[in-house]
Amino acid sequence: MPEFRNVGEVRGLRSTAYGFMAFLYLPIIILILYSFNSGSLVMVWSGFGLNWYAKAFGNADIQRAALNSLIVATVATALATVIATLAALVMTRGGPFRGRGASLTMISLPLMVPEIVTAVAMLIVFAGTGLSLGLGNVIIAHVTFCIPFAFMPIRARLEGMDTTLEQASADLYGSDWATFRYVTLPILMPGILAGAMLSFVISLDDFIITMMVAGAGSTTLPVYIYSMIRQGVTPEVNAVSSLLLLASVLLVTLYWLVTRNRAAATA
């Protein structure tokens, strides 16, 4: 008889786990700590100060890049979420149709394609067609890679949803539209929110693809941070990075709160 053993009792597991956590988070913690360094040397602590934050906020280039990032993430998320919702509805409620399996693979494929390949492909498309919409190009590129991220939680929610609810709506004189509006959509909402938040975060911190397709004036925050580093790392980079991290953490927390409340209401 194999004896039951708690995995936590495996020798060395605990210390390995702590070591791994430290490896993951220590650099980030140090990055945040040094963003509060008052001196101008990155790795020499010379006292607490918010001067680098003040400088970052006052930097017009950073302001422009941050605004670009927000515009791109917002528009790309909105488009990707709508497209992903429609795709998920067809996949789970559209019945069997020719090419269903292929479509499913196509939607999720960008998750597996190396990002640099997507980036180069995008660049070729824009160069080849001569499409030059400034920030529009960046948005188009972001929509393409955000769709699968938005799609996954929406599809999961739809597949977990009891189809007899939609039948009950039809039984109670609901038209197709009323059924979607009053039954499917409200129940699907946590999935849609999850998909939207996920794609917003993914868009916000994308670097490789944006780097390739962004022309002058379409620089986003991650791309701008990279250009700053090339001129030497100053605590200002730390401050901007910390702010970007804060935005991501806030979004994820918001998502968590929203889905938790929703789950409690609909469980």
């Binding site: 007899t164 039948q167 709506s169 039809a170 039984d171 109670l172 004189y173 609901g174 009323a178």
Partner: protein, 379 residues
């Protein structure tokens, strides 16, 4: 003797039924799932007429096609062949949301994101009823199912029995012509189930809506229905009142599915004046009313309910036997009595005033079978 059946039906119902309007007419309906040789035939040529204002039950074992028939009536499935009409109107092409038919789903299918009141209001809202009227309907329906106090709760905050009531109220709120109920009591515990039987029956009388009730529980069917259609493997075996079905089963399936039954295989020796003399395989002889179409030489099955046999001390009258086993169930006692046939006869005795079980295993007894208790099944 078979005429008694008709007499009984007439005595039981106030008007001689045939005059009543037909609510639902199912004519030659076939339902196949899939195509070609791999197709599952869920319904094979089902025909039945459900009358206006009737509590009609579809009864049969799991997988016999009850849900499929109900889903066809609701509009969730199309027929492969045949026709369905609702109050004389062919509804074959009518989508579910345009049929004046509402369903109580087996697992209720309440909208989880809406309150009880919002659930009940859903149907009237989709029908575009005025706001004031909807509020009144919701209040009346919740009162009808005794759920007024729970109007602002969500389904997840209700017990199974309460959800059941909300599902009923929601389906009744648009005042449909026909209410379809798919095993609505199966998820409740025994006591609640028994209480709900009376309530459902009461609700049907109070609303005057035609109920089509699906169940695999024969007791449920017998206790609530005006008429029952017994189904097996996609076919209707018999349609009749609970009494007709129990007393005069059309065939062996119906006889054994509803209640307990003894079957004795026999051959008709001769018929005089409607009475047949039959001889069993082991040579026991019985005289009973001949089934229509029965002729001498025919192989028939004789059928006898356990409670229609009286056990007496051994004597000249009746069938001699020996008690093989007995099963004490409190209210009744089931004896298996060896009468020399292949299988023993099951006899039910009632618990008596003196609480006694006068017979025990091994006792020799005499079985007295009432003149009209033994029935002949042709199939």
């Amino acid at each position: 003797m078979l005429h008694r059946q008709r007499d009984f039906a007439e005595a039981m119902s106030p008007d001689p039924t045939m005059e009543r309007k037909t609510a639902i007419d199912v004519a030659g309906v076939v339902k196949r799932f899939g195509h070609g040789p791999a197709a599952v035939v869920a319904l094979k040529d089902v025909s039945l007429a459900i009358r206006d204002n009737e509590f009609f039950t579809l009864l049969g074992p799991s997988g016999c096609g009850k849900t499929t028939l109900l889903r066809i009536l609701a509009g969730f499935e199309a027929v492969s062949e045949g026709a369905v009409s609702l109050y004389g109107e062919n509804i074959a092409g009518l989508p579910a949301n345009r049929r004046s038919v509402n369903t109580v789903f087996q697992h209720y299918a309440l909208f989880p994101h809406m309150t009880v009141a919002e659930n009940v209001a859903y149907g009237p809202q989709r029908l575009g009823r005025p706001v004031k009227e909807i509020a009144e309907t919701v209040a009346r329906m919740l009162q009808l199912v005794k759920m007024e106090k729970f109007a602002e709760r969500r389904p997840a905050q209700l017990s199974g029995g309460q959800q059941q009531r909300v599902a009923l109220a929601r389906a009744l709120a648009p005042h449909p012509k026909v209410l379809l109920l798919d095993e609505p009591l199966s998820a409740l515990d025994l006591k609640l189930r028994q209480a709900m039987r009376a309530e459902l029956k009461q609700l049907q009388r109070a609303t005057g809506i035609t109920f089509v009730f699906v169940t695999h529980d024969q007791e449920e069917a017998l206790s609530m229905s005006d008429r029952i259609a017994v189904m097996s493997e996609g076919e209707v075996q018999q349609i009749g009142t609970p009494t007709e079905i129990y007393e005069y089963p059309a065939n062996r399936f119906v006889a054994s599915f509803i209640g307990d039954a003894n079957f004795i295989v026999a051959q008709i020796d001769g018929i005089t004046g409607g009475m047949a003399k039959c001889r069993s395989v082991r040579g026991l002889s019985f005289t009973l009313a001949a089934a229509p179409g029965g002729k001498p030489g025919d192989k028939v099955t004789l059928f006898l309910r356990p409670e229609k046999v009286r056990i007496e001390a051994p004597g000249d009258a009746g069938l001699a036997g020996m008690i093989q086993t007995m099963e004490y169930l409190g209210q009744s006692i089931f004896y298996q009595v060896d009468i020399g046939e292949d299988s023993p006869l099951i006899v039910a005795g009632r618990n008596r005033d003196d609480g006694g079980t006068p017979y025990k295993t091994g006792d020799r007894v005499s079985l007295v079978i009432g003149a009209d208790a033994l029935r002949m099944l042709v199939a």
